[in-house]
């Protein structure tokens, strides 16, 4: 529940970012010129706020207390009788005032940044690109047949461990399977090697798909690429591959 402060200011819990923030609030509330702080008044107010801190939730107590000590010190300096006129010694408030002015500027900047953050939070950029990378990007690692085979067999081993039930039935031909792969590549730009093989119902069919892929690589119709080591292997259509069956374009 927000507490009502005498001059109508609403204090929300935990609203002060630090002692300077509180000090600026008090100065503004009293409509005081920051260059000419009546230190006795401000110190009293500051201490009053600290003593009511169960309402203000000061989780950085030490920092607030440190400021209280500084205020009391400045107050004592002003009250102390001096042999020379104070003007020569310099106003003990000066350092605090300079600090407050600088901090006030930071607060103004916070306001600006907060506004911009709000504005920017409503516009969106793409996180990543979906466009396939050009084939002759030489930084990519073209994987060897050995890599392909290894990842395939390790996957099949895993799948056998899953106690897979093998569904028999469909008569499968290598020609049909190769056509299927090419059609998918035409439509989708690329295939995730393991996902694709894994999508087959039976081990036989997956094996067939694997050998078809090897054939297509050998025939230089497709290319298998790993963008980074230990990442999944993707299969792309070669740009110079002849069209299969009925291309739409």
């Amino acid at each position: 529940m927000p507490s009502e402060i005498d001059e109508g200011y609403q204090i929300k819990l935990g609203v002060f970012e630090g002692p300077l923030d509180l000090l600026l609030f008090l100065i503004k509330k009293k409509k005081i010129d920051i260059q000419d702080i009546p230190i006795a008044v401000i110190t009293r107010e500051y201490l009053e706020y600290l003593s009511s801190r169960e309402r203000i939730n000061l989780d950085r107590e030490a920092e607030f207390l440190l400021m209280a000590a500084l205020l009391i010190y400045i107050k004592s300096q002003i009250l102390l009788p001096r042999e020379q006129p104070a003007a020569l010694e310099g106003d003990p408030r000066k350092e605090l005032v300079d600090h407050l002015v600088d901090y006030q500027r930071i607060k103004a900047a916070v306001g600006v940044l907060r506004e911009r953050e709000e504005e920017q939070s409503q516009i969106w950029r793409r996180a990543a690109l979906t466009a396939p990378l050009p084939e002759q990007d030489l930084d990519l690692i073209e994987v060897s047949l050995f890599d392909l085979a290894e990842s395939f067999f390790s996957m099949m081993k895993r799948r056998q461990g899953e106690n897979l039930k093998v569904i028999r039935g469909k008569e499968l031909s290598m020609g049909d399977k190769m056509k299927e792969i090419m059609t998918i590549l035409k439509e989708r730009d690329f295939l995730d090697f393991l996902d694709y093989l894994g999508s087959h119902d039976s081990l036989e069919e997956a094996l067939l798909a694997f050998f078809c892929l090897l054939e297509l690589i050998k025939a230089r119709l497709v290319v298998a690429i790993q963008e980074q080591l230990f990442h999944s292997i993707k299969v792309w259509l070669r740009k110079d591959a002849p069209p299969v069956t009925k291309g739409k374009e």
């Binding site: 002692p19 306001g111 600006v112 940044l113 953050e117 516009i123 690109l129």
Partner: protein, 179 residues
């Protein structure tokens, strides 16, 4: 009427993951004089600004990048299943402005400006890559120095650090607020 150069810049800005800088444009198009690129770029930006498209090109961190217009924030968030974008805490934002206006700056200096220990805030900012370590100060203890990053610029939609309000402008803002 779009010419080939404008279209090429459009394709390049579109495909670039990071904001595309004029330097990169020049690198891709070494045969085109930079003034010509700059002019085509201005025309392209104007064309988008005047179009009815939901996307546009904005300057960001010294380059140019495509973004959606703000009015499409709700459906985009729904698509991405993002309830609300996370905002920086007041503490973090304060420490960040202190870095922005005093960089390069040490942790102790930031703490002094804010009269508050700022290590947690700095940690958050480092983790979010809004600030970075840029070396050490030639002072006792050789403390680490911090600066804002490119991501800082992008996060706040700034083109360069000079786009932040100057000390003078901040003073004006403060006066308005107090008036």
């Amino acid at each position: 009427m779009m010419d080939k150069l404008q279209q090429t810049l459009e394709a390049l800005i579109f495909i670039s993951v990071e904001p595309l800088t004029p330097a990169k444009m020049a690198e891709v198009l070494p045969d085109v004089p930079p003034e010509e690129i700059a002019r085509a770029l201005q025309d392209l930006l104007a064309a988008y600004e005047n179009s009815e498209r939901a996307i546009r090109i904005i300057p960001s961190a010294g380059g140019y990048v495509f973004s959606t217009k703000p009015e499409f924030d709700p459906p985009v968030r729904k698509l991405l299943q993002i309830e609300r974008r996370k905002k920086l805490s007041g503490q973090a934002l304060e420490a960040l402005s202190a870095v922005a206006y005093h960089q390069p700056v040490t942790q102790a200096e930031i703490a002094a400006i804010r009269a508050v220990d700022s290590s947690y805030a700095l940690h958050t900012l480092l983790e979010n890559k809004l600030i970075k370590i840029v070396g050490r100060k030639e002072a006792p203890g050789r403390p680490l120095l911090y600066r804002t990053t490119e991501k800082f610029l992008a996060y706040f939609g700034l083109n360069a650090i000079e786009d932040l309000p100057s000390a003078e402008e901040l003073k004006k803002l403060m006066q308005e607020e107090n008036a």
